[in-house]
């Protein structure tokens, strides 16, 4: 286990050390202490390492992540896991606005609530939120899955292209071109897997599915789920 004191050693040294790990590194476990809400912690990683952040983080934690597993023992500021490509990011507390924005792949798990614009312009990421999500979540979502075990705020899935939105609780309002869709057996299977990966014990049968009515954009049948 490598322990890194962010306050003493500094952010640039931290990210340089983490980014320089190769895919067969033997330094696979990292612990970051004294995070104190700092910005851009553990960004641009590209190795199968496990990074644990003790405490809450500021803007853009785990942005652009590839392969790595980043767990935050606290809450995350705006833009956590923004543009993630692969790997896993787990937030034990809450996440601020635009969590998982534009992310292409990987899994983002938020154990608490996510704020506004969760999964905005998501492009393939799987996001599992144990609590609620704020307004404009999955705005212009293009691909991937957003699972909300609690409630969704206003304008869920506004101007959505293709992405599956699963919500267990209430939806305050649906955004333009977002509609409730039938929950077929294959969706139950997909959701079961997502909930398992998201360390969540909710039952897939309790969820409703939402997605694009495909009226707002020039629909290509090859994009369809």
């Amino acid at each position: 286990m490598q322990t890194f004191d962010l306050e003493a050693q500094g952010l640039r040294n931290l990210n340089a050390a983490l980014q320089s790990q190769s895919k067969d590194t033997n330094q696979t476990a990292w612990e970051i202490v004294n995070a104190k809400g700092s910005h851009a912690i553990a960004v641009g990683l590209d190795a199968p390492i496990e990074v644990t952040v003790k405490g809450s983080t500021g803007y853009y934690c785990a942005g652009m992540n590839k392969q790595a597993t980043v767990r935050v023992h606290g809450s995350a500021g705006p833009g956590v896991a923004e543009n993630m490509m692969s790997g896993m990011v787990i937030i034990d507390g809450d996440a601020s606005q635009y969590a998982g924005a534009t992310a292409n792949g990987g899994t983002l798990v938020i154990k608490g609530n996510a704020s506004s614009r969760c999964g905005i312009s998501m492009k393939g990421v799987d996001i599992v939120v144990h609590g609620n999500v704020g307004h404009m979540s999955a705005f212009m979502a293009q691909s991937g899955n957003l699972v909300v075990c609690g409630d969704a705020g206003d304008a869920l899935g506004d101007s959505i292209y293709e992405a599956r939105l699963f919500v267990r609780g209430s939806v305050k309002s649906l955004g333009a071109d977002c509609i409730e869709k039938e929950m077929r057996p294959e969706h139950i299977e997909i959701l079961k897997d997502l909930l398992e990966r998201g360390e969540c014990d909710a039952k897939p049968e309790e969820f409703k599915r939402y997605g694009s009515a495909r009226k707002l954009y020039n629909f290509d049948i090859d994009n369809a789920y």
């Binding site: 104190k36 809400g37 809450s56 803007y59 500021g77 507390g93 809450d94 606005q97 506004s116 704020g134």
Partner: protein, 309 residues
């Protein structure tokens, strides 16, 4: 950007440390805006007296003999406490309006930062650490306070464009965001008789709240109607004699984090601003919801003004 902080103490034993805690919070927010900084402190109140906190670019000239000159014009006790470019003038409450008029005659270059029983506002161009040091904010005692560090977008970097803005007696406002309808609203408010000093958008927001309250609204009602009448982005933190409030516009893209313990309620643009507060690791930490007015008051039986908020 801009950075905002606020601290409302429930535990009176922390009051001697208010200035120090707020200063520390504001300095942490320096990279959100290096143009100017300001702090409003609700400190000691002297019964029957009102405080005018004033500023001059020529403090040696303007504050020399000011107590005597104002005493001669008003005919009662006047005390003047000079702090760098600012001075706190204390006069009998009954002379609050007369004092302002007399001051404008005696010292035309002096600008009024705030009027209040307990409120003092200090603000200048520069970094939070320098501004706080000039006025020795760290040594100040108080029950609550708010602070702001500015990255100017809508108007010039000047002392008068710095926050907090005094919106009415013992009321003040700080703002992160930008108002897009401030020009038309300024014209409307000036026609309605409101005095608006600068071309700054936040001052219009402050004047709007004052105008609403002068027309019978409570602070809470004024903040609620600001959600309809102000166009643009805003996270506002407001201070009153007894408490402080928070409101965010419906889009809520300007950040806000709050923390509450048995000892205090704290506000920061970022969580970083809160990390050195006592017991923060066990505090309830959350993001204020959009379009929602939050308010905390020291009064166990709040007045109507606070209650509606």
């Amino acid at each position: 950007m801009c950075g905002i902080v606020g601290l409302f103490l429930k535990d009176t034993s922390l009051e001697p440390k208010l200035g120090q805690m707020l200063t520390d919070m504001l300095i942490t927010m320096t990279d959100r805006g290096p143009d100017s900084a300001g702090i409003a402190i609700y400190g000691t109140e002297h019964k029957g007296k009102v405080k005018l906190t004033v500023q001059s670019d020529h403090p040696d000239r303007d504050f020399e003999g000011l107590d005597k000159d104002m005493h001669n014009a008003l005919g009662g006790d006047v005390t003047v406490r000079v702090k760098d470019t600012h001075a706190v003038i204390e006069i009998d409450t009954a002379w609050a309006a007369a004092g302002r008029t007399v001051l404008a005659d005696l010292r035309p270059d002096v600008r009024i930062m705030s009027t209040g029983d307990s409120l003092e506002i200090y603000k200048e161009v520069g970094l939070p650490k320098n501004v706080a040091a000039r006025f020795d904010i760290s040594s100040m005692t108080g029950s609550h306070g708010i602070g702001h560090t500015r990255m100017a977008t809508e108007s010039a970097v000047t002392t008068m464009g710095a926050h907090p803005f005094n919106t009415g007696r013992d009321q003040c406002l700080v703002h992160n965001g930008s108002l897009s309808n401030h020009a038309s609203l300024r014209r409307k408010l000036r026609k309605a008789g409101m005095h608006i000093e600068t071309e700054n958008d936040t001052e219009v927001g402050a004047a709007y709240l004052t105008w609403k309250m002068q027309n019978g609204a409570t602070l809470g009602q004024a903040l609620e109607s600001s959600l309809d009448d102000l166009d643009g982005f805003f996270t506002f933190v407001v201070g009153t004699k007894d408490g402080f409030g928070v409101v965010r516009d419906p889009i809520a893209c300007k950040p806000a984090v709050m923390a509450e313990t048995d000892q205090y309620v704290a506000f920061g643009s970022e969580y970083r601003a809160l990390v050195n507060l006592p017991g923060i690791e066990h505090a309830r930490v959350w993001e204020p919801e959009p379009s929602t007015v939050y308010f905390w008051s020291h009064n166990s039986a709040p007045t109507a003004t606070e209650k509606a908020a």
